[in-house]
């Protein structure tokens, strides 16, 4: 049986029926992972996984994550193996603690199989800056198309597929864009919904923990397991953890849905536009109201620069701890200055150094007002506008990306100001729950759509995504 094709729920039902054991599944998936041709793996946890699977005991009918194998983006701390954030500077670093997400999943007996490749320190959108090289989109046999980043390895692993879910992080669109390129579900709940303890900070005001799954229902299940206040993350919320899986599978109608016209108009791919328009009709048939709304072009144009300035500024500070002094790789020198200069100059990739320099520039006394503070003002304006929208509408609905997965040489992410390619960062500005689900295929490659909702209203965001998913699957089948 092809276990890799099963969702969390399907695997669980197999376990409960005692047709297979977690050990069978884990051993089978390990063999698949070993054949990885798309460069999605960092350190593996195979031995540990087999041990866990062997000693897992009796199946727990009520715990749907019991014995479920998964992978972990390499910027999430694990005790057993190296967590490198796909950077040379941390290529020897083993965290003394597990991230809260890992601790929670281990406690309910989900089984980690290893770590996944990413853009170095999660800075990048293409999956090309890992110390191991490019991550390839498994759906493209020519190996010329990107998986997208920064959660490239986790996205690829669920796309291949080799696991039913993989943990990841999202600071601009690092889960929700690759999900679109992989035809999978990518979800980042509200800022503070899942503890960030153990997630390496890139730009903390926008960093979110999240994951990839192959169904919206699985995404809801996982949220139940991962959400909640964590005393090790004071920014985690005490907001009540809903019965997300129960709330997801209902047929509430009459949601108010906004499509931001300026973003939709920015999409040039006519096939995508038509697929998207058809999905709007489906939503209307389900009893929802969908309206095109205007958003000032100045705000739309500001999204990417705002994201870039703030994320680089915060990143320049958050990467300062990588100095080779008390952890990570150190290149020796005679003085502290020599050690730091050598270590950081030689071990950070050009992409990281560029962003750190840009961030330092944006924060420096002479430029702060025109760059960092200006970006903060623009972030506030965008959030104020979106909050206003949310007074009337329950969701913003948009294509998650302007096209199918592009070729590696097709564009340079950093200099791409295209509105349709960067709008997902809105959800990072406001800490909104945001989910990408598959919309359909264009020339055999997937495209995704995205729902973004009000903070801590994961239940209805998951619900609308679930409703559309069910319809699209039915139509597709």
């Amino acid at each position: 049986m092809k276990y890799e094709l099963l969702t969390i729920v399907e695997l669980h039902n197999l376990y409960v029926s005692k047709k297979v054991t977690p050990l069978d599944v884990v051993e089978y998936l390990i063999e698949l992972i070993k054949k990885d041709k798309h460069n999605f793996m960092e350190a593996n946890m195979f031995e540990e996984a087999i041990k866990l699977a062997k000693n897992i005991g009796e199946v727990d009918k009520d715990n749907l994550l019991w014995g479920i194998p998964f992978l972990i983006k390499d910027n999430i701390a694990t005790k057993e193996v190296i967590t490198s954030a796909s950077s040379k500077i941390l290529s020897n670093y083993i965290s003394p603690f597990d991230a809260t997400m890992i601790k929670k999943l281990k406690a309910i007996k989900a089984i980690p199989l290893g770590k996944t490749t990413m853009d170095e320190f999660a800075m990048g959108g293409k999956g090309t800056t890992s110390h191991n090289g490019f991550t390839y989109n498994p759906l493209d046999k020519t190996k010329t198309k990107m998986m997208g980043g920064s959660s490239s390895g986790s996205a690829a692993a669920v796309t291949v597929p080799v696991v039913p879910f993989a943990l990841a992080s999202d600071t601009g669109d690092s889960i929700r864009k690759p999900a679109s390129y992989g035809g999978i579900v990518g979800f980042k709940p509200s800022w503070g919904r899942i503890s960030r303890y153990g997630l390496f900070s890139f730009a903390p005001s926008m960093d979110h923990a999240g994951y990839f799954t192959r169904s919206v229902f699985d995404a809801a299940l996982l949220l139940e397991a991962l959400a909640g206040y964590d005393e090790n993350d004071p920014t985690s919320s005490t907001h009540v953890v809903d019965k997300y899986s129960k709330n997801t599978a209902n047929s509430t109608s009459n949601y108010q849905i906004a499509v931001i016209k300026g973003i939709f108009d920015n999409i040039l791919d006519e096939k995508l536009k038509s697929l998207f328009s058809k999905s709007i009709e489906e939503l209307k048939i389900l009893g929802h109201k969908v309206e095109f709304v205007e958003m000032p072009i100045t705000l739309l144009r500001a999204i990417f620069p705002t994201y870039f300035v703030i994320s680089c500024a915060e990143a320049s500070s958050n990467t300062a701890c990588y100095d080779g002094v008390n952890f990570g790789v150190r290149l020796e020198g005679n003085t502290y200055e020599e050690i730091v200069t050598k270590t950081r100059s030689e071990l950070f990739s050009a992409q990281i150094k560029k962003r750190i320099l840009y961030g330092a520039y944006a924060l420096s006394k002479d430029n702060k007002d025109e760059t960092y503070l200006r970006a903060q003002r623009s972030r506030r304006k965008i959030v104020e506008f979106i909050n206003k929208l949310f007074e009337k509408y329950d969701f913003i609905y948009l294509p998650a990306a302007p096209s199918v997965a592009p070729k590696f040489n097709e564009y340079n992410n950093d200099d791409n100001f295209a509105i349709a390619d960067n709008h997902l960062a809105i959800a990072n500005f406001g800490g909104y729950p945001s989910i990408t689900i598959p919309l359909g295929k264009i020339n055999g490659l997937p495209v995704g759509v995205n729902f973004t909702g009000r903070p801590f209203e994961e239940s209805i965001v998951l619900n609308i995504a679930y409703q559309l998913e069910q319809i699209l699957e039915k139509k597709g089948a």
């Binding site: 910027n75 999430i76 701390a77 967590t83 954030a85 941390l90 670093y93 965290s95 003394p96 603690f97 991230a99 960030r196 303890y197 153990g198 997630l199 390496f200 900070s201 903390p204 005001s205 005393e231 090790n232 993350d233 004071p234 920014t235 500024a313 915060e314 320049s316 500070s317 990467t319 300062a320 701890c321 100095d323 002094v325 008390n326 952890f327 005679n334 502290y336 730091v340 330092a360 924060l363 420096s364 006394k365 702060k368 960092y372």
Partner: protein, 476 residues
């Protein structure tokens, strides 16, 4: 030309909270190096700062003592720079919104009251401690993340003396409010000085020089006086003072240049978004203030007004918070405050001095000293007997009254017993009575001597003298 020195101070106070500023790591200054270190203190990736509530409470106490406006929304910022003692590559501090702002403190300098305005008080974290051994540097992360408050004055000070009084006052506040050990020598109170000169009457400021590495109040005073002279000389030569940072070198007792101001680091401050703004309720702030241990100024007023102690006695008691605490505890068990104060500041102080120990290690509890004072005041023991009892009490846990009884160190105050002896002595010394009546005062002393001799010094002298006088007058 005469110059006026314009001086501002920045004081860092290490708080004696149970745990660090942004982690749950315990603090113990006596611990072995690098034994009190957790992932947060090392800035390991994935860790997040957890704000220490006790540190916030301590900052409120000091802000209140300095008459500052307290910001009820606690916010933090990052100060970015690279240094080997700074694990994160940034320090979490309060740049935009210090917890305390715009306060003042009144100093008594050479008999006049001088008001110094305090610009700000903010919370931040300490760096790791560096130990330089030859060409090696060792880093002790026990200190990394210990809470600090930084108190910044307006440039209101004018002399080394004023600066010294100011620091002493701050030291008194932080020790009496129980937020810090306030020991400059051990680094729990650190002071940086900003100083510039200008001609008297001028309204603009001269070039500012910062002096660092001052490890005692007397060094601050000395360094300021030296710096005033140095700048004066430069200005009198018609030259310009260079804006720079100087370091005080204790071995040569002088300041040396460290770096010029144009090498100043741009700290690239920005908000710490890993800490959400913390709202303090008015009730919380009021509770913190009302639960603050009594400050020295208030104690001083109480000692003088309620206990009728002299200014001098009050100041002696308040030299040290532990002294004052000892006195306060003892004062619960006696109302003879003046005698008690003498015992604390003379007898006990002498003992502590000879033994080289602190009053917190003094073997006699405050209550027993108070009871001894009561015995003296009631006439049950003489001062000399009290000193003997005190010596025994140092090695005993017994009550002073029991010691007095078992060691036969009580005065006799029984009027009948004393009168009996008086009558015997008067009978034996009729001539002396005549002499006394004839106006020879010495005769009275002679009689007292005889009486006390017969009692082997145990009669209560005041009572004996009163009874003798009455007896002679009665027989007139």
């Amino acid at each position: 030309m005469n110059f006026e020195a314009i001086i501002g101070l920045e004081i860092h106070v290490e708080l004696k909270t149970k745990t660090k500023m942004f982690s749950r790591t315990p603090i113990d200054f006596k611990a072995e190096p690098n034994t009190l270190v957790t992932p947060i203190d090392l800035a390991l990736p994935g860790t997040l700062p957890l704000v220490n509530k006790e540190a916030v409470i301590f900052a409120i106490r000091v802000s209140n003592a300095l008459h500052m406006k307290i910001d009820k929304l606690i916010r933090f910022d990052r100060k970015n720079y690279f240094y080997s003692d700074l694990p994160k590559g940034y320090q979490i501090t309060q740049d935009r919104f210090p917890i305390g702002s715009e306060g003042y403190i009144d100093l008594e300098v050479e008999g006049t009251i001088k008001r110094v305005r305090i610009q700000r008080l903010h919370l931040e974290e300490d760096t790791a401690k560096q130990i330089h051994l030859g060409d090696e540097t060792l880093i002790d992360y026990n200190r990394a993340g210990i809470p600090l408050i930084e108190i910044v004055t307006h440039p209101d000070l004018r002399s080394g003396k004023e600066a010294a009084v100011y620091i002493e006052k701050i030291r008194q506040i932080v020790t009496f409010s129980d937020v810090s050990d306030g020991k400059m020598e051990e680094g729990s109170l650190r002071c940086d000085v900003n100083i510039s000169l200008r001609p008297y009457g001028a309204s603009s400021f001269g070039e500012k020089v910062e002096i660092k590495n001052l490890n005692s109040i007397s060094n601050v005073e000395r360094a300021i006086n030296l710096e005033i002279k140095r700048q004066e000389k430069i200005l009198l030569k018609g030259e310009k003072v260079i804006a720079e940072t100087r370091r005080y070198d204790d071995s040569i007792k002088d300041t040396v240049s460290m770096r010029s101001k144009d090498e100043t680091v741009d700290y690239k401050y920005f908000p710490e978004t890993n800490i959400l703004p913390i709202k303090l309720s008015g009730a919380f702030v009021n509770e913190v203030i009302s639960n603050c241990p009594e400050l020295a100024d208030k104690k001083r007023k109480r000692y003088i007004k309620e206990y009728s102690l002299s200014d001098y006695d009050a100041d002696i008691l308040l030299l040290d918070k532990y002294n004052a605490a000892y006195f306060d505890e003892a004062a619960k068990f006696t109302s003879f405050y003046k005698t008690l104060s003498n015992w604390v500041t003379v007898e006990i102080a002498t003992y502590l001095n000879s033994e080289q120990i602190c009053i917190s290690d003094f073997p006699i509890e405050p209550k027993r000293i108070a009871l001894l004072v009561n015995l003296i005041e009631s006439g049950d023991v003489s001062n000399k007997q009290a000193r003997d009892i005190f010596t025994i009490m140092l090695k005993s846990t017994d009550e002073p009254l029991n010691i007095a009884k078992t060691h036969n160190l009580m005065q006799i105050s029984d009027e009948n017993v004393i009168l009996e002896t008086i009558r015997i002595v008067l009978n034996e010394n009729k001539g002396a009575i005549e002499d006394y009546r004839a106006g020879k005062d010495r005769a009275f002393g002679f009689l007292i001597g005889k009486i006390m001799g017969k009692s082997r010094g145990k009669f209560n002298p005041t009572l004996t003298s009163k009874l003798l006088k009455r007896e002679i007058d009665k027989n007139e």
